[in-house]
Amino acid sequence: MSCTVIAFGELHGIFAWLHELPVSIGLPDSVQAVVMYAALGVTVFSVLSLFALFLVWWERKIAAHIQQRFGPMRVGWHGWYQTVMDALKLLQKEDIRIETRDKVVFFWAPVVCFVAAFLAYVVMPFGKGLIVADLNIGILYIMAVTTFTVIALLMAGWGSNNKYALLGGMRSAAQVVSYEIPMVVSLLTIIIYVGSLSMVDIVESQSGWFFNWFIFRVPFGPIAFVTYIIAAIAEANRTPFDIPEAEQELVAGYNIEYSGMKFAMFFLAEFVNMFTVSAIAATVFLGGWNGPFLPSWVWFMGKTLTVVLLLMLVRWTYPRLRVDQLMEFAWKFLVPVTFANLILAGVLKYLGYWE
């Protein structure tokens, strides 16, 4: 085991132990890596699944309190395990499969969506040492795998053989592809100052007090942060950019024909996605796990949940954009702004603002 001094409450011992587990139980070399990553994957997956359930409950509570009602109150203190019960209920429900569906596509769409949502967490630094694999292309990897969601939504829209679902799938494809660009460019503004794509490097270069966070330190950091948040809301398909499932127009959009656990998979994936984009915002702009006194993972979670809270407030306040306005906003406003931001930041860096 590791001999370094660990701050009280740090969890990276668990990850270190999992890293060393295959070796210590004497597995042959050929399967060591497989077992190690499987163990890490299961750990992260189960924690995140529970966390997604918590987020669903939290969103319901936040929405309820903005609207001056209680929200779930029945099971447990303020209904804290309501979503667990909901998930169990959805598990038991009949899986309604319409006759005219595209069988293969219809089946795999929720699976792809669910898996793609969790893939990003391979490189997510939850705390000091709390990372499954510190890839040197971390952020690029995240950008790549989160785009898988659009394929899943398109598959769901197509496979359902329903006009509403198809419209939802098409809208989702157009939207996610468009907003990918401002999102990546906003992140690039930061990355050119870090000089590395590794998530750990990004976090470590922000160590220290909060003025070392990139949102404050990098020129045009706040603008990049705002454009990132806007694009992230669109990526996570939430109001005011929730047109793929726009309830008042397309009823439920791409997941209109899904029921039971398949629906639950879409639903959980949506919340995991929301957590992903918030976690990236916390990591890249808000200093990640850096913070005094408290354990690093607490800081990470605190910052992420703050961003999540912001997303929730936005969701429950604003009306929804129309589909053409959404695209116009992306291409005519966000893309130019983010590119200008990137160029200015690059010029400043070249001129030696950053030593």
Binding site: A64, H65, I66, Q67, Q68, F70, T317, Y318
Partner: protein, 223 residues
């Protein structure tokens, strides 16, 4: 409006939503907490009992049945040797009741009231038909102002009640048991209970109606 204005207005909306986040909920948790119903609230129809004797106030005058627009009240009476009317059947079909309050206003004997109670969900539609015992039992603890004249149940209009009572004697030229209370529903609301009742006596009604038709429209107060 410029960009700055847009941002300011967006933030203003966010501020209003955030402001409410800190406030306490205005809803209540229903089975544990209940709203206090106003005294005039129109809930379930109940039959009232005399405060001293505990007997029903109802005099079987059938005014409420006549006032009811959905024929939810069914009354069957008979006369004894003293020509005094007695109640055989008094049923309220809560499934048909539309809670308009016309029966309560029609009643001149403080016999019937729409109580402030509102919970009567059941598992079947037929359980919603309440007979006289159930109605009386539910109405035991209902407070009311007795506007009757003691010992003399002669119809007297209430102070501000709308209808002046028609003479109950006149309305019963035809003895009721032969013509059981008509439970009618003009357009079928697809309820099984309605259909059953309709089947009881479709023919005489049908004929009566046809006759009226020939005479050129229904005649008023023919009974």
């Amino acid at each position: 409006m410029g960009l700055i204005d847009h941002i300011r207005n967006l933030l203003k909306g966010l501020g209003i939503a955030g402001k409410h986040l800190g406030r306490h909920a205005i809803t209540i948790q229903y089975p544990e907490e209940r709203m206090e119903m106003p005294e005039r609230s129109r809930g379930i129809v109940v039959l009232l009992s005399d405060k001293e004797t505990g007997e029903l106030n109802c005099t079987a005058c059938e005014l409420c049945m006549r006032a009811c627009p959905t024929a939810a009240i069914k009354i069957v009476t008979h006369r004894d040797e003293n020509k005094k009317k007695h109640l055989d059947v008094f049923e309220v079909d809560n499934g048909l009741c539309c809670f308009c309050g016309l029966c309560e206003e029609a009643c001149n004997f403080s016999a019937l009231k729409m109580a402030t109670k509102y919970e009567f969900s059941t598992l079947g539609a037929d359980e919603l038909v309440w007979d006289v015992n159930k109605l009386q039992e539910v109405g035991r603890d209902v407070d009311y102002v007795d506007t009757r004249k003691k010992k003399k149940p002669k119809p007297e209009p209430k102070a501000d009640a709308k209808p002046t009572a028609p003479k109950p004697e006149k309305t019963d030229a035809k003895p009721k048991p032969e013509q059981p209370a008509t439970v009618s529903e003009p357009v079928n609301p697809a309820g099984s209970s309605t259909e059953e009742k309709v089947n009881e006596e479709p023919l005489p009604e049908e004929q009566e109606r046809k006759e009226e038709k020939k005479e050129g429209g229904p005649t008023d107060g023919s009974v």
